[in-house]
């Protein structure tokens, strides 16, 4: 692997010269990151329809291509060739900016997600903080879309959605703090390497569950999909959007689902570490994929299983249950670490 990489580097430097090559190399890395991410984003839509179909004892999409494998492409083509409607009363520039503001942060967060100790686009030392900061920018896209549409449903949907996102962002941020306490670093590579002895889910099981439920609420997924509760709000904040501009909201949503699944697998489920050291021969990236894939499956599973929450229940769960529990767990983790350190005689 390393030899091939060296060969590529030598070849590239010969072709472009060292300075230009380093730029080209970054571009190549970005493409190599975005290609699988976009692949997962498009294919989780098919997985969703297939899984929910199976759970409701029906085949799901099966006409386009073998087993429906070309369905996402057909959907994309359909979205592209639809009319882009710019409502008369909308604030046009903000209206067009909002979908970008949803999609771009969802893709940008991937920069610091490691797929193995070396396979990472930008190994910055503030990885977790970066992801939290960038992903919370998505709320701007939603509130701007609701305001710029100048439509009642879009407005109400965006208010609900943003209130929900910020509520659960608090508990999601708090669930990651015990992990950082244990690791002593914000780098995701360090977080995974520290889980060699046992995965963080073992000492921090309640945090893992709060994290997962919070991210389901944060991505506006069922059973917390109140912002787009069809019977009351049509499609929520993207009611007025059509063609690819609404497609970008979907892409952003699914990119976030894939992202938080990977983040959960990295932070709580040991990332690329195998569950038993005997299973070391299987490459780490496959383990990471399996764990993240499982979390994505759970996303779809709960959508097929649970009825929608009411808004008051949603807010109560976030502010009155998750927030105190996660704060208490931060205290408990700090206390235990202090005590063990005291006994260790430092």
């Amino acid at each position: 692997m390393a030899e091939i990489l060296n060969m590529v580097h030598e070849l590239g430097e010969g072709l472009f010269g060292p300075l230009l090559w380093s730029l080209v190399w970054v571009v190549i890395k970005v493409v190599l990151l975005l290609a699988p991410v976009l692949f997962m984003v498009t294919y989780i839509t098919l997985a969703e329809r297939k899984v929910i179909g199976a759970m409701q004892v029906r085949p799901g999409p099966n006409r386009v291509g073998f087993f429906g494998v070309l369905q996402p492409l057909a959907d994309a083509v359909k979205l592209i060739f639809k009319e882009t409607i710019l409502p008369e009363k909308a604030d046009k520039s903000l209206f067009l900016l909002a979908p970008l503001l949803t999609l771009v942060p969802a893709l940008l967060s991937w920069a610091v997600v490691p797929f193995s100790p070396e396979l990472i686009l930008a190994d910055v030392n503030v990885g977790i903080l970066y992801i939290l900061a960038i992903s919370s920018l998505g709320a701007y896209g939603i509130i701007i879309s609701g305001w710029a549409s100048n439509s009642r449903y879009a407005f109400l949907g965006s208010m609900r959605s943003v209130a929900q996102m910020v509520s659960y962002e608090v508990s999601m941020g708090f669930t990651l703090i015990p992990v950082i306490l244990i690791t002593g670093s914000l780098s995701l590579v360090d977080v995974v390497e520290q889980q060699k002895d046992w995965w963080n889910i073992i000492p921090l099981a309640p945090m893992f569950f709060i994290y997962f439920i919070s991210v389901v609420a944060e991505t506006n997924r069922s059973p917390f999909d109140l912002p787009e509760a069809e019977p009351e709000l049509v499609a929520g904040f993207f009611t007025e959007y059509s063609a690819m501009s609404s497609g970008l909201f979907f892409m952003g949503e699914y990119a976030n689902i894939v992202l938080v699944s990977f983040l959960g697998a990295l932070v709580f489920l040991g990332g690329w570490l195998p569950p038993l050291s005997i299973l070391d021969f299987i490459p780490g990236i496959i383990w990471l994929g399996l764990k993240a894939g499982f979390l994505m499956f759970v996303f779809l599973w709960i959508r097929a299983t649970f009825p929608r929450y009411r808004y008051d229940q949603l807010m109560r769960l976030g502010w009155k249950v998750f927030l105190p529990v996660s704060l208490f767990w931060i205290f408990l983790t700090g206390l235990v670490l202090q005590l063990t350190r005291g006994i260790g005689g430092e």
């Binding site: 970054v26 571009v27 970005v30 975005l34 592209i80 639809k82 009319e83 882009t84 409607i85 710019l86 008369e88 009363k89 067009l96 979908p99 970008l100 999609l103 771009v104 893709l107 920069a111 686009l121 910055v124 903080l129 100048n150 439509s151 009642r152 449903y153 879009a154 407005f155 208010m159 209130a163 910020v166 509520s167 608090v170 941020g173 708090f174 703090i177 950082i180 306490l181 002593g184 914000l186 007025e240 063609a243 690819m244 970008l248 892409m251 808004y311 008051d312 807010m315 109560r316 502010w319 009155k320 927030l323 105190p324 704060l327 931060i330 205290f331 700090g334 206390l335 670490l337 202090q338």
Partner: protein
């Protein structure tokens, strides 16, 4: 420093290009047949009633304010958690004091009913 963050900048450009490209391409190749009813805001087929930029529930505003407080708290907690090893017992007690001050505010907000949605 720059070498760590430069790829992020390139990724930003790529993400903007993907999003903008998809939207722009769809705008170019899609049909354009606008008429008044289509461009009006959607209200289940009725003519829109009244002003759209209407008043909204003040509780959304309250949630935003409470969120800011807790988000700033989280911003304090991150560096504290990273430096936890080096700041020792004093650092731990200090953060717990800070958290307890915040908990008083949290209890007040709860008692006042700011977290209620009936």
């Amino acid at each position: 420093m720059l070498e760590h963050y430069f790829p992020i900048l390139v990724l930003l450009g790529a993400a903007l290009a993907i999003g903008g490209g998809a939207m722009g391409f769809s705008y170019l190749v899609g049909p354009k047949r606008p008429y008044h009813e289509k461009l009006d805001q959607y209200e289940c087929g009725f003519a829109p009633l009244g002003r759209i930029r209407m008043r909204f529930d003040v509780r959304f505003y309250l949630i935003a304010i409470i969120f800011i407080v807790f988000d700033i708290e989280a911003a304090f907690l991150f560096p504290w958690a990273v430096a936890f090893e080096s700041i020792g017992l004093i650092g731990f007690i200090e953060m717990m004091l800070f958290l307890s001050v915040l908990l008083v505010g949290y209890a007040y907000v709860w008692k006042k009913g700011a977290l209620e949605w009936e």
